[in-house]
Amino acid sequence: MRTGTSAGRQARLRPGPLAAALLLLAAALAAGLLTGAAGLPVTGVLKALVGAVPFVHLDSGLSPVQQNVLFELRLPRVLTGALVGGMLAVAGAGYQGVFRNPLADPYLLGAAAGAGVGATLVIVFGPGDPLYGVPLAAFAGAIGGVLLAYALGNVAGRGGGSGAATLVLAGVAVSSFLASVQTLLQQLRIQELQRIYAWILGGVGSADWRQLAMVAPYALVSTLVLLTHGRLLDVLAVGDEEAAALGLSAARVRFAVLLAASLATACAVAVSGLIGFVGIVVPHVVRRLAGGSYRVVLPLSLLGGAAFLVLADLAARTVVSPGELPLGVVTAFVGGPFFVVVLRATRRQVEP
């Protein structure tokens, strides 16, 4: 017998919020594709997009140059923005679940500093055309940084103590170590400072199909792993010891989620440089609007993060048009004040 409608309702992703998030993402993608310096006609763009679907033939009325702008510049840029935003947000949600701390972010374990060292190495010492060298090196650097932190955390945590706390400390140590390595590299070639700096600020302006294809498989795998771990992260919310009493190995869940989230972060960092705040801000908004269960937070962060970054990039390339603001500046500009609001709100929750 069912007792009431609200009793017995389990936290899970409901159609309403999912539809809203999908709609938001669709609107953001459309806005991103329809807006730009080339001033493409709206109907032409829509017709061309429909015409690009296999087996559909539709004359868009766009000139070859306009076609090129749409399919070689705007579409990859918008899709890259969506991928980066989605990856950073879902990775942030994963990190927050593993560390049971809503302020954890995807760069916590040295992914950013590792990617920074990788990218800087290629810019400083690489051969003439580092077009794909930088993303590759950033990807490898991000993974390397996290693995280093994980190894250090395991060695340091062997004597006992909380696994997660030791891991965070190891991440802090690895991050500052790698940051100092990067500073050293920069000092060796001060004339490359501008390029390094531009990479650190982040952006999706140089997006193209090859970069997108390069990271897409990893993004897909990490997304699948993260989305299937929602229930386990909810169990982990009661702590390692109680999770163990419920038959769950906290270490195993933590490892799988951290690996997937770090892979997602590496994908984002490889194609966009360092973009802050998305990983914290988006999961927070989702939590406030749709609830704290990770079965809800993970998928909605993926969609919301994608929409957020597409819109942020839209702002980055239109606000000071024809110039561009660095994307990392735009997200931080929105994220900074928001962060303060979140901090105030969570403090009020803790001390009612």
Binding site: R9, A244, L246, L248, G292
Partner: protein
Amino acid sequence: MTVEVRGLDVALDGRPVLRGVSLSVPAGSWTAVIGPNGAGKSTLLRAVLGLRRGDGAISVAGADLRSLKPRERARLVAYAPQSPNLPAGMTVFDYTLLGRSPYIPHLGREGSADRAVVRDVLARLDLTGFAARPLDHLSGGERQRVVLARALAQQTPVLLLDEPTTALDIGHQQQVMELIDALRLADGLTVVTTIHDLTLAGQYADALVLLAGGRVAAAGTPAEVLTRDTVAEHFEATVSVTPGPGGRPVLSLERP
């Protein structure tokens, strides 16, 4: 199911906490572990759960607990910690549903049978009206019942409860203890609790195990263990012991 512990030694950071602890809890009975602060009561429960490594034999119904996989163990023994983590914002229903974890495939999800178990448990503990309530909006007594609900949702034959009545007023202490006893009798559960209040332990438990300095100092029926001399020796307290209802001892403090 019978819980057997034989010659259990546990050390934390090289410091021995339990030394040669043995106890036997017959199926369907209630054993209370008592002892002064720091005697190793909580460590004993954690060791039985496999959360603390140690030497010695621990078996439930003849099966060696340590040879079982964590999920299998979690279907035999449920545990309610002394200070549980109650994730803010999680509802009573979802929290109780966590107790179904040992039955759900690693990457799987709960089925309608799991939700039915949870609804049933909540109804038995008078928590149906609280199902949609977040954990951070509960009183101390309600919280204790919700933690018990999660343990019951595990549907294990053995319950380990670490200080189930801490921080409860005398009325709620009685309510929780009566509840545990009723559930035990109805489902034939084997219950092991640690407990501070000696009179309360004596009123409800079939057997008491007194831990002191990591060793079993006394074990037996409440009347055998709770004597003026034992309490004076191990708790350094002066009490008078009078036989209460059913011959169970009632302790009252005396000023020295």
